[in-house]
Symmetry: C2
Subunit: 86 residues, 2 copies
């Protein structure tokens, strides 16, 4: 039985407007950080997974993203699997 | 003038309860992903920064994190600077 730490990055697609990012951008500029050109906000999901079969962890997490973790209409996701010391 | 892409990961400190993560965990299990042991949700902030002085981009973004992007009482942050082709 191996343990994995999986990092999932969920970002809005580049064509989708990001009002939260725009508001962070304008707040940063008001604070004096004029060098910031753009800001976009996404989600970072960290999963701990226990599984005997190493091969299909990435595949299973991709399925989780499609079914629950992301909205495929407006978001892209990226899965990174790291093996963990148990 | 160089352009940088900066990725900021903001995560709840390990000792802080994460109700959103718990609810994702239970939803994943109900969907049949019983191998998931834990889930924690953080923020991913992507900044585009234009700056002449390469040295202090990381320092400036760390200041942004302290002042606006994170809540240092309950969150940790991690800054990664990439140079971008302009």
């Amino acid at each position: 039985m191996k343990e994995y730490r999986v990092k999932v990055e969920v970002k809005l697609k580049p064509v989708v407007l990001d009002p939260q990012g725009k508001s962070v951008l304008s707040a940063l500029r008001n604070l004096g950080f004029g060098e910031v050109e753009d800001a976009r906000i996404g989600k970072l999901i960290e999963l701990t997974i226990k599984d005997g079969d190493s091969g299909n962890v990435e595949e299973r997490v991709t399925e989780m993203c499609r079914k629950l973790l992301s909205n495929p209409v407006i978001e892209n996701f990226d899965v990174k699997v790291e093996e963990k010391n148990v």
